[in-house]
Amino acid sequence: MQRDSVLRLESQHSSTGDVRGGSIERHRHPRFQSVLSLLPLLPLLSLVAIAVVGPLVIVADPDEQELLIRLQPPAWAGGSWDHPLGTDGLGRDLLARVAEGARFSLLIGVIAAVNAGVIGVMLGAFAGLAGGWIDRIITSLVTVEMAIPGIVIGIVITATLGQGLLNLIVILLLGGWIVYARIVRLQALALRQSEFVEAAHALGAGRFYVLRRHMLPNLAPTILVLFAQGIAAVMVYEATLTYLGLGLPIESVTLGSLVREGQQVVFSAWWAGLFPGLMIALAVVGFNFLADWIQARMRIDRIADM
């Protein structure tokens, strides 16, 4: 999903031939307004709270099975308060599992998005600044990867190398780095040709120095927005990979694997898939609000509103 913010950037660039970096302009807020302006962060904060505090507070063991209480409904729907959100198909406490899953999914999302961001920014900058054959190789890597469905790459990697955290992150990373690379490369390319750099060059500053000191700070808000959306996208994508059997081994609890398990018992236990599904929704809404918030705070030029 992150690709599309860039899309608007790029279509803008290509149609006008004018490359502008985002400009940061901090708004001044009266104090009460700044408290209000934090409101959109609420969904994300509650997600983080559940993920971080949840496993500490909830006493139930997310892995403990009690077959006699399989598929017990939530407390208010006829279950018991021992298992407030009910139990899954093997009698495990759903609340504990959702909290555990949120934590793990969030972790995977952040790790994958950070890696994708760092690699994407580095390759993009490298391609744009170095130009020539280096640029051509990196650009064609991007093109090639875009021509192959990410799911297919996941299938081949998992089938040959097996399931595991590292492999999952590699698959997620492969799906995510392109967007950063494309945007940073465009900026770097423009930079390379600009008088500004020539001037800096004349003053003895290297291209990479200029990139690091002047371009990246300008791009930071854009990258942050992509990053926020990226984490949410990764969480949904992880669920899809898990569905196809390309996620983590079955004993790992992620929101994706919980939705998958819930989907399996959907005909007898709506709760098992609903609550983890809601958590993913909370994450998507939360990170999108975060992205909006960053944009509003930093007024990034020409970034999509989502």
């Binding site: 892995d63 899954d88 093997l90 097996g162 399931q163 595991g164 399996q264 018992v265 005909f267």
Partner: protein
């Protein structure tokens, strides 16, 4: 959406026969069914079966999925088949007998025809054996024991082996199906012709196979009669969708239902059939490395794991702790009097101390992705309780299968084997010292496996395998786990359907 527990679920456990192995010993020497034509019972117009995936090949030499075998055994008949009590019964053969396990005398039933109208003669036996022998498949290995087929006349033949092979009938029952004259590898895929209860209808890759009833199949086949004019096997990989198909009436039988979905089937108005499929789950112990070369350590492992509790928790109430490798009374060698290892962590500790490991040790347990890692986790945590630290290695299936006799691979591996009507294949591959999947070496066991293979009398073979079971308990080759089951969902009218013990969905009824 009501509250569900394991109690009160509308389901039925199927285990056929029951302890009648010895009674049926004469088994394949005596024709047990009359050949007189019966009046066919009225059959349904159509039965739709949801399988969990496509059938990639219909070639009996290449098939190795139960989905594939379901189709193969609907279209073809083999010389012999497994009866519901696990004994070998004559199928296309009227009699099938041997005195020395080297020469097998076959008399075909008179009057059988292939779907193309040509008669079934002994040439079909030769054809299928030649074809299997020439194939590049695991089947070719098993057939090498057959030296030649002598056709005496159209109905009488001798299958002559190069060495005693008492296990041969149980293998012939699986893949040695009778092939018609003029078949080609292509026709096996595109328009297979057999002599079985159903004939080929159509196949749409990724979607469905249609078989139609063979109206000429009216002789008193022990397989029974076709249950429907038409059987449609659909390929529905998603188990929740299979349940939905049952609920909407789009399917009449759905296969491979996870235990978590039993409740969903009842909600859909269906019946769950839990079928024992002669599957043995075990954790193979490599005995070629310390400390597992000491039988006390291996017994300690068996005592340390609360197998019964794990079986009940993860497999359901139909699974029980096994004493040895034999899953139930239909398996040759099963001994109802042999008790499983007791769950006794104290005893396990004592045995470990005796063997010189009072503080335990650390090791690793390999498991392929396909079976639930839950099993491995549960087993590992029980072992840890007696001081054995276990690292679980999850390997992709291909890697896992490549490591059976690799001395570098983890010494423990979780696996299951089925169907185990006749334990010979399993024993000679996984337990015999020269088996290519084996890391076990015990001359006494090797000798017993040899003896059993050469013993023509079923009762005597059974006794040898029982003896083997006791030796394998004294000097374990594995942590013996439980008999695995499979779950079907069926619409109420089919609630009395009896699945085969080998999990092949062949819709016939006696």
């Amino acid at each position: 959406m009501q509250r569900q527990t394991t109690h009160g679920i509308n389901r039925r456990r199927v285990i056929q026969g029951g302890g009648s192995l010895i009674a049926g010993v004469a088994g394949w020497n005596v024709p047990t069914h009359s050949t007189a034509a019966q009046t066919p019972e009225p059959v349904r117009d159509q039965i739709v079966v949801d399988l969990d995936g496509d059938v990639s090949t219909f070639d009996p030499a290449l098939t190795y999925t139960t989905r594939g075998w379901s189709i193969v055994h609907s279209i073809y008949d083999a010389l012999v088949d497994f009866g519901s009590d696990g004994t070998i019964v004559p199928l296309a053969a009227e009699t099938f007998a041997t005195d020395d396990a080297i020469t097998f005398e076959v008399t075909l039933r008179a009057g059988m025809t292939f779907h193309d109208g040509s008669p079934v003669t002994t040439a079909a036996i030769t054809r299928s054996i030649e074809y299997m022998r020439a194939s590049d498949s695991q089947v070719a290995d098993l057939i090498t024991v057959v030296d030649r087929v002598e056709e005496i006349d159209d109905l009488n033949a001798r299958i002559i082996c190069s060495e005693p092979a008492a296990w041969l009938p149980s293998q012939l029952a699986v893949w040695q199906v009778l092939l018609p004259e003029g078949f080609t590898p292509e026709s096996l895929e595109n328009n297979p012709v057999g002599s079985g209860p159903y004939r080929w209808g159509s196949y749409e890759p990724g979607n469905e196979i249609v078989l139609v009833r063979n109206l000429d199949y009216i002789w008193g086949s022990p397989k029974g009669q076709a249950m429907a004019e038409e059987v449609v096997y659909r390929f529905v990989p998603e188990s929740a969708t299979r349940v939905a198909d049952l609920a909407t009436g789009q399917a009449d039988i759905i296969a491979r239902i996870p235990i978590e979905q039993e409740a969903g089937i009842e909600g859909a108005g269906g019946t769950v059939i839990v079928a024992d499929i002669l599957a043995t789950a075990f954790v193979r112990i490599a005995t070629d490395v310390a400390p597992f070369d000491d039988p006390r350590v291996r017994r300690a492992l068996n005592h340390a794991v609360d197998v019964q509790a794990i079986a009940r928790a993860l497999e359901g109430e139909s699974s029980n702790r096994l004493a040895s490798i034999y899953p139930d009374e239909r398996a040759l060698g099963f001994d109802p009097d042999l008790q499983p290892f007791a769950y006794d962590p104290e005893l396990a500790r004592e045995l470990l101390a005796e063997a010189g490991y009072p503080d335990g040790f650390s090791t690793s347990l390999e498991v392929s992705q396909a079976p639930r890692l839950n099993y491995a986790e549960a087993i590992a945590s029980d072992l840890e309780a007696v001081g054995i630290e276990v690292e679980i290695v999850a390997a992709e299936a291909g890697t896992f299968n490549a490591g059976w006799n690799d001395p570098e691979a983890p010494p423990l591996r979780y696996a299951s084997w089925r169907p185990m009507y006749d334990p010979n294949t399993f024993l000679s591959l996984v337990v015999a010292s020269d088996g290519f999947l084996s890391r076990y070496d015990n001359p006494e066991v090797d000798a017993l496996i040899q003896d059993a293979a050469a013993e023509p009398d079923t009762e005597a073979r059974n006794a040898i395998y029982q003896q083997l079971g006791r030796v394998l308990q004294e000097e374990p080759a594995a942590i013996y786990l439980w008999n695995a089951v499979t779950r079907y969902g069926v619409e109420p009218e089919l609630a009395d359907w009896e699945p085969r013990g080998d999990d092949y969905i062949v819709l016939t009824k006696a």
